[in-house]
Symmetry: C2
Subunit: 243 residues, 2 copies
Amino acid sequence: MSQAATSEPRPRAGRTPHGRRRVRSALALAAMDLFAAQGFEATTVDQIADAAGVGRRTFFRYFRSKEDVVFPGHDEQLAEVVELLESADDAEQPLVVVSRTAEMVLDMYLTEPEVSLRRFALTRQVPSLRDKEIASIDRYQRVFARYLRARFAGEDNGDLRAAVVAAAIVAVHNHVLREWLKSGGELDARAALRAGTRLVQEALSSTWDGGGEEQVVVGVVKTKASPDAVLDQLQNALRSLPR
Amino acid sequence: MSQAATSEPRPRAGRTPHGRRRVRSALALAAMDLFAAQGFEATTVDQIADAAGVGRRTFFRYFRSKEDVVFPGHDEQLAEVVELLESADDAEQPLVVVSRTAEMVLDMYLTEPEVSLRRFALTRQVPSLRDKEIASIDRYQRVFARYLRARFAGEDNGDLRAAVVAAAIVAVHNHVLREWLKSGGELDARAALRAGTRLVQEALSSTWDGGGEEQVVVGVVKTKASPDAVLDQLQNALRSLPR
DNA sequence: CATCGTAACGGCACTCAGTGCCACGAGCAA
DNA sequence: TTGCTCGTGGCACTGAGTGCCGTTACGATG
């Protein structure tokens, strides 16, 4: 945390990769401590740099902005997601692939509960941080949508469906994550996410979905109509399908 | 646009409501012109204030920040949405109410095509503005989700469903809006939105939805199975429903 | 029409985020 | 040991956003 050097002209760390990691972590830790103690806006970059034992200018060499300290490595995680989607097998159903990717994103939060919980406490009460987090979530959603758009290409309303499915999966992820954070990390988030994505898959796997091999039909019916009328209509729909 | 007063000690507008509107609109216009001409970051608040013929300090009396000039009256529109949802008749289906509200939001963009298109051109290339817009959209989504949560209260996974439905409707809205903007305002956005929300309603009105009066059943079936097997299963499902 | 009170205005000074620049010196290679 | 490299610290600068205050236009009152 704080180093003992008071009269020393300051030890130059950060030359070796190990040193750089140490400086980065010292800055992040000092920042989160100060944010928690006196609030985000009330904390200046000078205070963070001083607490970490480096110059103010160095802070901006490790983090693009004061807000970036709260979201370390978000870009790398997004790149991981992109890679995972690009390397996915096209034989798998698109919704399954996206759901699995969402699980991976959730895992990123779950592997460091203390960090996630501290960040949550901050983002909840600092509007600018909340906005930044939302923007970052939206980037994931865009990546999902792009992947789905490619998979749904040619379908009726394929682009629209891609946008809706991406939004739905992300909504499930966010909902589960929020519940997990509110529970203080106690909830079995992985199971909850899997259950949620399954619900979405069941609801949104409408129109054909398997790329020719398997086709799917969804009938939505108000039960005010007699079951027999329903069956008649469905029968017609099924008979009119190719094969 | 620019006023002739060079030696005058500056005419004091803004005392009357009409004057205030004039100043506000002059600032917004000058800002958008400058943003379009030389970019957002390259434009300083001083330049905007000068171009509008007011002092720099006055700019911040009309707009909280430089970014706020691009999104005028977003707070009021959100308040309108809240009001519309609160005054909705509970006899109507929740998804219908939310879909109609989304139409109202879309109309807000459609009534001023030039403004929307200019804003779109800006938000597309300025990251900070894009983030701000996303955050604002998220606020609508939160309002939708809150309403739906209340309507779905008591249902299994009601909160989750509320989040998913809100996300889906907002996704449809955004998709249609984006297409409309990309088309330069030519697309029949209202019809497209209505068609899209109908699709979402059909897909996500699963589990009971009418509060007891009407029940809905959704069957999702792979057509690899023979149509007859499908019908058998559906028949069983329908027969087992109450009534 | 004259006067008064209000409040928006312009301007100044200040804080702080973020950036360009440069001299310094620690660490590494030859 | 010597020289090169590059992260570092410090300085100076721009620009956003805010607090403060004297000024003054405009509406209200008599």
